[in-house]
Amino acid sequence: MSAPAGITRVTLLKDLRLEWRSKDASNSMLFFSLLVVVVFSFSFDPSAEESRQIAGGLIWVAFLFAAVVALNQTWAREIRNQVLDAYRVSPAPANSLFLAKVVGNFIFVSVLEALMTPLFIAFYRLRSIGPAWQLLVVAVLGTWALVVNGTFFAAMSLRTRSREIMLPLLLFPISLPAILAMVQATTAILNGEGARFWMTLLVTYDLVFTTVCLLLFETVLHAE
């Protein structure tokens, strides 16, 4: 395995192992996700027919909030233990760290989503008219879009005042096209319509922003 890929793997495994052992963030995140689902279900109580129209939007907004809370602590461990300084002076490529962080966050947020989805289905009596596997594709693409930008902006916000609010301030505007695409794709699939355009848009968005974030991360890491 080439060196950068090896470093990515090692960093990712380290993060996963640390998280598994301490369950620092996991437990509170899981409970937060549950709370979000419940609050949304109380606030919007549609009939089964209506729910198919609005569920896409509701689910993704809930995922978005859960993701932001998860992303906010993504670099916390690194700051606490001066890991970033060590990384900067090591010859390891910055991209490997970034990719490891993104994949780790992706796994984490996916777990949260996997928990929230059955609850949404139950509370909203959701049944998809279109093929359900397509929803999974949208979920993967959409989550990646949020996580790749979120990890990048979280790194950018490290030395700002009001760090926690800075992340959503930066993330939301730039993610708007992706959020529109995720929501529209989900709604379209739930209602048995075609979602090809939105999926293509999501794939393109993911490719472009992953590339640019990878290119710029080194600059941000050293600037930060």
Binding site: M156, R159, L170, I174, A181, Q184, F209, A223
Partner: protein, 230 residues
Amino acid sequence: MKRLFPILGVVTAALLVYALYMALIGAPTEQTMGNVQRIFYYHVPSAWTAFVLFFVNFGASLVYLVKRKAAADMVALVSAEVGVVFCTVVLVTGPIWARPVWGIWWTWDMRLTSTLVLWLIYVSYLFLRRFSSSGETPTLAAALAVLGALCVPFVYFSIWFFRTQHPQPVMGGGGSIDPRMLHVLLINWLAFSCFAFLVCWSRYRLEKLQREVDQAHALESLMAPRGSVR
């Protein structure tokens, strides 16, 4: 160079007066909308000016990322600030125009939505500038500006398709424009552009001075003998 500023100021003032006259009195009254339509002469040139300024911001940010010149960073900052102001004008004049004409304050049509998203992106850029306390703010901001600018085509495509699927009233209308109105529109755009340039220049000089003062203070603190820092 410094002498050019007051000359440009006078020219801009004259242009603005002329443009105002033409917009409010000189231009022919629109057939269907009447005099309310005249806000168009503020709405559209502001939009164009904002887009140009945001493009300048993108260019300056790229230059900064490659060359790390302080001048590029200041141009980026200045163009973002003034661009946000003009974009705010667009977002405020739009609903003011729409309400009497279409009866609604807002709609998620292509132009309005994309302008709103653009405004949000650049306001977040200004927030990063304001809240970031590290000495490397220019680099971080430049990276954000590049990402924001890359987002723009996605915004356009996504909203275009969204609106094709869910048609809504279109603000601003398409169609041809009377050549006399086009003339007034262009005059206003010229006046606004000159004004924007003037404000940017002024703000640039202010920023340059501010940085020189800050550097002088920092140097003074460093050089002061121990125990006597004010």
